[in-house]
């Protein structure tokens, strides 16, 4: 069977099994054609890594229930009343789905996207595939073959107090499982979503995760997108937010795994007075290779954006971190800032922060800062000279380095626990 035939067959199975409507069927076919016609253009050299629709050697593997990355966000076991609103996939199965009754009563939807396509077509059809277009081979692949979908909908003026969660756990290899997230926050609503991918693999795997966020006028959306992948995982993530008038969107991305990854976080600020915060946090070990792009596109007037990256790299980890502030003509009164800081914990780790400003408008304010370095020896000596053991001194300095990002993170205490656990791993602090 040729690769094309595999794609066709997979789309066929998907649309039939899930009784998808015609519009979605057409969408998938169109995306598949795009996928097949486009060359694989990747900033990372993926020639050594398997990518595409290859089948796993072993298609059915059990998934552990507890993952380190999830625990800080799980309620304690004996407190049933505070069960977290969440949708959890383990490989291709849903293993947990819970939505707090009070939240559901207000009309908030947290559902399997395939189900939502049939039950709430009027809420899904106008948005699905409208933020992340078929711009490259991998977004086209997601458009054709996404099969692990999560749909979040918040009606107008509803404020969801506790974070919602969406998780994709994976132990099966191959390249046929692809998460998709669609989040629609209506005017004046407020929501925090923690979405995370985690994998532990016995064979090579490939995944394309796509997230689309629609923030209507005055909506406040905080999305934390977490990834902790196995070294055998090759991954593409593309999250794009459309931000309307006076809406506020924070996209917080955390990568604490291994393997090879490419991620793109984009916020389109068409709405006047909109505000966007893009925060990226990388803790890299092993031979992790990451290529990140965080981009804000200013279209409306008087918009604000802030892009911040903090990375801790050790062993042979390598990171390319691009920050792009793109200001279109007419976007008067834009205020865009960028700050990329990388701390190298080992001489073998490497980082290239690339700040970019693309400005087509006169009346704007922009600034950018980038730095790469090791822990300052003078600071380390000072702390040790006051009696702090080297390990504690290093930890204190690293935590102070991350503090500005972690303080503002969605579900901040959980994020802090995660970084603490990473720092306590063997070999990180030496």
């Amino acid at each position: 069977m040729t690769l094309d035939a595999v794609g066709k067959q997979l789309v066929q199975i998907l649309t039939t099994q899930r009784q998808e409507p015609d519009w979605l069927r057409r969408m998938r076919h169109e995306a598949l054609q795009t996928y097949e016609s486009l060359p694989a253009q990747m900033p990372l050299d993926l020639s050594q890594r398997p990518c595409g629709l290859f089948a796993p050697r072993e298609g059915d593997r059990s998934c552990p229930e507890r993952w380190e990355i999830m625990t800080p966000f799980q309620p304690e076991r004996n407190r049933k009343k505070t069960e977290a609103s969440r949708l959890v996939y383990a490989n291709d199965r849903k293993t947990a789905h819970f939505l707090d009754a009070e939240v559901a009563e207000n009309g908030v939807i947290l559902a399997d996207l395939s189900l939502a396509v049939r039950v709430f077509p009027s809420l899904v059809q106008p948005y699905l595939g409208q933020a992340v277009l078929l711009v490259d081979k991998w977004t086209a692949l997601s458009g054709a073959l996404w099969n692990l979908g999560v749909f979040v909908y918040v009606p107008p003026n509803v404020k969801v107090r506790l974070p919602l969660q969406a998780w994709w756990q994976r132990t099966v290899g191959g390249g046929q499982l692809h998460p998709r997230l669609l989040l629609v926050a209506e005017a004046g609503s407020e929501v925090t979503l923690i979405a995370g991918e985690v994998s532990k693999l016995q064979e090579q795997a490939f995944v394309v995760a796509v997230g689309e966020v629609f923030a209507k006028p005055n909506a406040v959306v905080r999305l934390a997108f977490l990834q902790e992948h196995d070294a055998q995982m090759t991954r593409i993530a593309h999250v794009r937010a459309k931000v309307e008038r006076d809406a506020k969107v924070q996209l917080f991305m955390l990568d604490r795994g291994g393997g090879v990854g490419h991620a793109e976080l984009v916020a389109e600020q068409a709405g006047h007075g909109s505000e966007v915060l893009l925060d990226g946090l990388v803790t890299g070990t092993g031979s992790q290779r990451l290529d990140w792009t965080m981009r804000t596109v200013h279209i409306g007037r008087h918009t604000q954006s802030r892009i911040r990256t903090r990375a801790l790299l050790t062993e042979y980890a390598r990171l390319t971190a691009r920050a792009v502030s793109q200001i279109q003509q007419g976007a008067v009164g834009t205020f865009a800032t960028q700050e990329e800081r990388v701390l190298l914990l080992a001489p073998t780790a490497q980082a290239s922060p690339i700040p970019t400003l693309l400005i087509d408008e006169e009346d704007v304010r922009c600034d950018h800062a980038a730095s790469v370095g090791a822990l300052p020896p003078e600071q380390l000596f000072y702390l040790q000279a006051r009696g702090l053991p080297e390990r504690d001194a290093r930890k204190l300095l690293i935590k102070s380095f991350l503090a500005p990002l972690l303080e503002d993170a969605p579900a901040a205490p959980g994020m802090e626990v995660l970084t603490d656990k990473w720092l306590d791993r063997k070999g990180v602090l030496k």
């Binding site: 000279a385 009696g387 102070s400």
Partner: protein
């Protein structure tokens, strides 16, 4: 606990291969205040930093013992926990770490595991010490030395010293960058801490600080060695006459020594050993 004792014998220190401190010996007991003076570039700060264990300074010879324990064999943090304290000339600025938080970590590290100071008690102590030093309460929550003025940094060093209660404190140019009022406050704080449980070394260029903190001994450091030691009157002499007269004296002394060395016979044996023994073949 017994009185602290710092014993330094023939200490030599190099920086990037260049010898800076060359055979420094001194003994400091608890309760004593020693002043180390000397012109720029004679190794005063090098001596202090090397004793604390700064990685840039390489100890090439000699010994340094605090209460009989070999300081040079310890890591920086172990030296600090053993009771050595260095108030730095240029304290590092550490953004993101609050002063109070850091001090609590440091105090607890000094007290040792399982002996941590309860948070409330710590804060009570901290507030009291800050008041004594005329430090604003907001100081505690500010980031460690970040954006501090020169005077604030120095006061912060003294605050840390007050909280950590070292057995031997070295104050490296604690007077530089201080106005006269701040100088008095700092001096007063150091004086109030004087007790038989702590020895103090004050490194300074000027005699001014010694008007407020009266030293028991004054040492003059020249070219990496203590060339003269005396009481506080030595400091006054230095203030009046500068360092050149000491340099001249030392040089002429050395010249004499060199002369003497040239006059001594090349045979190192004692004279009576050269004399033929009685009852030998020459008898």
């Amino acid at each position: 606990m017994a009185q602290p004792l710092l014993h330094i014998q023939d200490l030599s220190v190099s920086v990037e291969g260049a010898p800076i401190v060359q055979g420094l010996s001194v003994e400091i007991h608890g309760g004593e205040v020693h002043a180390v003076m000397g012109p720029n570039g004679t190794g005063k700060s090098t001596f202090a930093q090397a004793l604390m264990g700064h990685p840039r300074y390489e100890v090439t010879g000699g010994t340094a013992r605090l209460d009989g324990k070999d300081l040079l064999a310890m890591r920086v943090d172990e030296r600090a926990r053993a009771g050595l304290f260095l108030a730095m000339q240029y304290p590092a600025e550490i953004p993101g770490v609050s002063n109070a938080n850091f001090l609590r970590l440091a105090v607890n590290a000094r007290r040792g595991e399982g002996n941590a100071l309860p948070v409330l008690q710590f804060h009570r102590q901290l507030t009291a010490k800050m008041k004594e030093l005329g430090i604003e309460p907001s100081f505690a929550e500010r980031c460690l030395n970040e954006g501090f003025s020169g005077g604030e940094k120095k006061r912060n060093e003294i605050l840390q010293m007050a909280m950590l209660k070292p057995r031997l404190a070295i104050l490296d140019e604690i007077d530089s960058g201080l106005d006269i009022d701040a100088l008095k406050v700092v001096a007063q704080a150091v004086n109030s801490m004087r007790n038989p449980e702590m020895g103090v070394v004050i490194i300074t260029h000027y005699q001014r600080l010694l008007n407020y903190i009266e030293p028991d001994r004054v040492h003059v450091l020249l070219d990496g060695r203590i060339v003269r030691s005396g009481g506080k009157e030595l400091a006054i002499q230095l203030e009046e006459r500068g360092y050149d007269w000491i340099r001249d004296e030392v040089e002429s002394l050395e010249e004499e020594r060199a002369q003497a060395a040239r006059n001594t016979p090349s045979d190192p044996r004692p004279l009576d050993a050269i004399d033929p023994p009685e009852g030998g073949c020459f008898a």
